[in-house]
């Protein structure tokens, strides 16, 4: 447990104290300026543009940072030689992988929250935004970020940084297109339908956490939806961490 906490703390501090955090702050400021400027040419649709572009922008920023950071996490440890300092110590593979995951997730939570508040608090000075309405999709999309971090760590535990990044990006795209894949496969029928169904159930369905759209059409969403979606996210994260632990165990350093 001690080693797990130490790795979590170290990973979180590495990200927050590093260039990524400063870069994300800079990008958040630029995003804020851009979104407010865009809202100004929208024929009085400022609030809407700020809410939608703001949510999409901060989310994409967090997704890119999380995928790149998580995909690099194991290989950079190897390149820097840190792994050779950790491995001889009594640190279990699970503590190592879980520590890396929680450290990254924690730091991404900080980055995402800071960029969210930079944008929406600034915009709130100019326009009366409905912060609680934006906060639910913001909070829920963090499950998606956590899943992608877990997936990226899984890929990074057995492949190179670039390959892990590309694979995680592919999971992100597929995760948002699963219903499309399923309907296309069902229309084709035969083996394609089976493969489509397999992909549909095996790949993470990231649309479940996309409340950016649902919150407007279904404002009174039942609490069981939130609970089941959270269970789904936790299950998928546990699966990825378990597989990553196995891969790390089998990997020769």
């Amino acid at each position: 447990m001690k080693s797990f906490i130490a790795i979590t703390k170290l990973t979180a501090l590495q990200v927050i104290k590093g260039r990524v955090f400063n870069l994300s702050l800079l990008l958040s400021v630029l995003l804020t300026i851009m979104v407010i400027a865009f809202s100004d040419i929208s024929l009085d649709q400022n609030i809407r543009i700020i809410q939608n572009f703001g949510l999409a922008g901060t989310f994409l920023l967090a997704i890119i940072i999380s995928i790149v950071s998580a995909a690099n996490i194991v290989s950079s440890e190897q390149q820097k030689g840190n792994i050779y300092l950790i491995k001889p110590k009594p640190v279990s593979d699970l503590s190592y992988v879980a520590g890396k995951f929680f450290g990254l997730t924690l730091s991404l939570l900080v980055i995402y929250t800071v960029s969210f508040f930079i944008l929406f608090i600034t915009a709130n000075f100019f326009f009366e935004l409905n912060i609680p309405q934006i906060f639910i999709p913001f909070f829920f999309s963090f499950f998606e970020i956590a899943i992608l971090i877990a997936v990226a760590i899984l890929f990074s535990s057995f492949s190179t940084a670039i390959f892990s990044t590309l694979l995680t990006l592919a999971v992100f795209v597929v995760g948002h297109s699963l219903s499309l894949i399923l309907s296309a496969a069902t229309q084709t029928g035969g083996v394609a339908e089976l493969v489509g169904k397999l992909i549909y159930y095996v790949m993470p369905n990231l649309e479940k956490f996309n409340l950016r759209e649902t919150i407007y059409t279904l404002p009174q969403l039942s609490s069981s939806f939130y609970i089941w979606s959270a269970i789904y996210a936790l299950f998928y994260i546990c699966l990825c961490i378990s597989l990553a632990t196995l891969a790390t165990k089998k990997r020769e350093w």
């Binding site: 543009i49 950016r212 759209e213």
Partner: protein, 278 residues
């Protein structure tokens, strides 16, 4: 010393590059603008956006942000040229926005105002109908739809329906009750129109609207009385009345009555009395 010199040189070099790039940018913009003006275009060319289905397939669930992006592009497209020219893609772009996000209220209104000027009244009405389904309490949607039906499609029946439905909805201009009455007055059902005007008189608190309603009611009563009189005269005397002056010549009326809305005329083909529009 040498380092300092190199630093200054690199700064000057960077500034020079930026200046040249800026100049080149401005020059190309100017050339494009001149070429555009020389084209003597008859219509603003279409944009090449993907279909809604394809946008939905590739936008990874960012439907609202995509709708907003195309909305900004629509404004740029419409605001980028001569407002009197037809904009080929305008209707398609607005439809794309509301298909991506049906809860985006403003484009329905925007399309309802702009598309009739682009000679696309039916597209505007279809868009407003879709908006009414989504926002049944927005009175402006009904109001614009009624205006298009009345002014562009010359469909008084449909216009009357929209104007009537708009009463009591959020944002409906006070004139809606008057326009509903005007559209109803143009229809064959004079009694219904009279009842409408009486209703407006009884319920309306705005004095200007009441005054207009009183004038329309006086006109309508006059029209109903004259049509009734002409019918009686024709059946009792076996003569065909050709104009209201015939009634004066036959000493039935002292003079041709004038309504508060203007002079009246009689059409022997339709057997209807109506006001003379300037």
């Amino acid at each position: 010393m040498k380092d300092q010199y190199l630093n200054i040189l690199s700064l000057v070099w960077t500034a020079l590059i930026l200046l040249t790039a800026g100049l080149a940018q401005a020059k190309t913009d100017q050339i494009l603008h001149q070429e555009y003006l020389q084209l003597n275009i008859k219509q603003v060319p279409p944009t090449n956006y993907l279909s809604v289905d394809n946008i939905k397939k590739i936008n990874l669930g960012f439907n609202k942000a995509s709708a907003d992006y195309i909305w900004l592009a629509t404004i740029q497209y419409f605001g980028g040229g001569n407002p009197n020219l037809p904009y080929q893609s305008l209707s398609e772009m607005i439809n794309t926005v509301v298909t991506l996000d049906p809860n985006f209220e403003y484009p329905y209104l925007f399309g309802g105002v702009v598309l009739p000027w682009q000679e696309e009244p039916q597209e505007a009405l279809d868009l407003l109908d879709a908006g009414i389904k989504r926002f049944p309490n927005n009175g402006l949607l009904y109001y614009y739809a009624g205006s298009i039906a009345k002014l562009n499609l010359k469909d008084a029946n449909r216009a009357a329906g929209y104007f009537q439905d708009s009463i009591g909805k959020i944002g409906t201009p006070p004139a809606a009750s008057i326009l509903a009455g005007v559209s109803l007055t143009e229809l064959d059902d004079r009694q219904f129109a009279r009842a409408w005007w009486e209703g407006v008189l009884q319920t309306e608190e705005n004095e200007n609207i009441k005054e207009r309603a009183r004038a329309w009611l006086q006109y309508l009563n006059l029209v109903i009385d004259l049509e009734k009189l002409i019918s009686q005269v024709e059946s009792s005397t076996d003569t065909k009345i050709q104009s209201l002056n015939d009634l004066v010549k036959m000493n039935i009326l002292k003079e041709v009555p004038v309504s508060e809305l203007g002079k009246l005329k009689y059409n022997p083909q339709t057997k209807k009395v109506s006001r003379i529009l300037n």
